[in-house]
């Protein structure tokens, strides 16, 4: 509403009412949260085994001692995640585009892409990790690479199979009339895909995509099975040294902290999309 328009008394009354309603609901939720937290806390602390569990899972000194190694490991996870996200985005867009190609010339490529998505959506990540991490270097076809490198490749292969399906669904959700309009302007098939279809498809599937990346974020910890000293592996080493599980809890917390921004971003973006697509903004 433009500033300095006169406001009617009715509207002033309505606004005052809404303000008090807001204050009330904030207070109510605050109180109920505190009560809830206290009840849970008291229940846990009064269990018979709490002292023991506290010592072996929540020991501050062990946590502090493990901190440098675990945080160094987490840095490895972040690097792997970074390259894996880029790799997945590139590969899955390529696969999705191939799967939407029409015409007999593309049949072999299309079939290959379909077989790939079927295969890697079915294979457990941990098996892919073993096959790629130990099998491919054994071929001695490629120059020597670190376990971290092969772990990243395995993640990319597994997750691109999922994410390409998400992209494909998005591409197919763009109404055919958009393609018709683009081709009618004289745009080629490729230009239509790149300028008109893909941008709309990406917008449609971004929330689903972000969720897949949150899932990948924690699966990055699985590369430890290849011997990469990431946060999980570091925690394992520390745990074995002290017979205390606190380092695992520490690593777990760090993974959650790492995921939080992405989770929040996903929620925010989904809400924004919904707001844009909804005409009545209060329902």
């Amino acid at each position: 509403m433009p500033a300095n328009l006169p406001i009617s008394d009715v509207e002033i009354g309505r606004r005052a009412y809404r303000r008090t309603q807001n204050v009330r609901s904030v207070l109510v939720s605050l109180v109920s949260t505190i009560v809830f937290a206290v009840v849970i806390w008291l229940t846990v602390v009064n269990t018979p085994g709490w002292e023991r569990v506290q010592r072996s899972f929540f020991d501050l000194e062990t946590a502090l001692a493990a901190w440098p190694r675990v945080i160094a490991g987490l840095w490895v996870n972040i690097q792997v995640l970074f390259f894996a996200v880029i790799g997945v985005l590139v590969l899955s867009v390529i696969i999705a585009t191939i799967r939407t190609l029409r015409g007999p010339i593309w049949f072999p490529l299309r079939a290959l892409a379909a077989a790939y998505t079927d295969l890697f959506r079915g294979l457990p990540l941990i098996i892919v990790l073993f096959l790629i991490g130990f099998g491919v270097p054994g071929l001695e076809l490629f120059p020597r690479q670190s376990a971290q490198f092969w772990g990243t490749i395995a993640l990319i292969l597994t997750y691109s199979a999922y994410v390409s399906e998400v992209f494909r669904a998005g591409i197919e959700a763009v109404h055919p009339s958009q393609r018709l309009a683009a081709r009618s302007l004289g745009l080629s098939h490729g230009q239509t895909m790149r300028i008109v279809v893909l941008p709309q498809a990406v917008r449609k599937v971004t929330p689903a995509l972000m969720n897949d990346f949150v899932a990948m974020q924690k699966d990055v910890g699985l590369i430890s099975v290849l011997g990469v000293v990431d946060a999980v592996r570091a925690a394992q080493i520390e745990t074995a040294a002290n017979f205390n599980f606190t380092p695992y809890v520490l690593a777990g917390l760090l993974f959650v902290l790492l995921a939080l921004p992405m989770i929040r971003l996903t929620d925010w973006y989904t809400a924004r999309l919904r707001a844009r697509e909804q005409m009545g903004s209060i329902v």
Binding site: Q178, L180, A182, S184, L185, G186, L187, I195, V196, R203
Partner: protein, 247 residues
């Protein structure tokens, strides 16, 4: 005699067993405005889509200028770039601003530099009273505004032929006039237009020639005044009586 912009000879098109176009002959001269009329399902849209090469004809020939565009060896994208199309449902690109919708073909197909394409586009938008909406996204525009943008997008590349497919059917009655006024202006500019329409009053007003399509063929054609007031064929009379009321 000047060369026609469009020439169709014996054009045939079927979908499965349904023969939609059964030998259509049509010639459109430069600067001519042709109105296609006919019942729903008579093949008006199909005819326009065949001209625009988004539907492959089963027989016959189509020339754009002196180029046989039914020849499979021609570059179809090039031909489509020479023909402007406006659809019933506007079909603007929702993820692109108005200005980018309008300049897309100029930039991507004709390779005109962005600055130059935008200058042309802004001048056109200004003409239709939408220059101030250039940076808006299409969903922030009214139906009539969207359709005017769609028309501007279709003519931004200076096409030799403009195809309009019932461009006012999806509009609220009070928005129809602003779109029809724009078509009238385009006619004033000398644009060659083939339009499928259910707006008989408008067809009578603006079209140089009215073409009545029925049963897959052109049953009757002629100057608007003639076809509407003295239709020669029984089928034309029956069709028109449903629209204009019995004479």
């Amino acid at each position: 005699m000047t060369e026609p912009v469009l020439r169709m000879e014996g054009v045939r098109k079927s979908f499965g067993d349904a023969l939609v176009l059964d030998g259509v002959d049509l010639t459109v001269a430069p600067h001519e405005v042709v109105a296609l009329i006919g019942a729903s399902g008579s093949g008006k849209s199909t005819l326009l889509r065949c001209i625009n090469l988004v539907e492959r004809i089963d027989d016959g020939r189509i020339w754009l200028g002196d180029l046989d565009i039914s020849d499979p060896r021609i570059a179809a994208d090039r031909v489509r770039a020479r023909i402007g199309v406006v659809f019933q449902q506007f079909n603007l690109f929702p993820h692109l601003r108005v200005i980018d919708n309008v300049t897309l073909a100029s930039r991507a197909v004709l390779r005109i530099p962005r600055a130059q394409a935008e200058a042309t586009a802004l001048a056109l938008l200004d003409r239709v009273g939408l220059a101030d909406r250039a940076r808006a996204y299409p969903d922030r525009l009214s139906g009539g505004q969207q359709q005017r943008v769609a028309i501007v997008r279709a003519i931004a590349t200076n096409p030799e032929l403009l195809l309009l497919d019932e461009i006012t059917s999806a509009l609220d009655p009070e928005l129809v006039a602003e779109v029809l006024d724009l078509v009238r202006e385009l006619k004033g500019d000398g644009t060659t237009i083939v339009m499928a329409t259910h707006e008989m009053a408008f067809a009578r007003d603006v079209a140089d020639r009215v073409v009545f399509l029925d049963g897959g063929v052109i049953v009757e054609q002629g100057p608007a005044a003639q076809v509407f007031t003295r239709p020669q064929h029984e089928r034309t009379r029956t069709f028109l009586s449903r629209f204009l009321g019995p004479a």
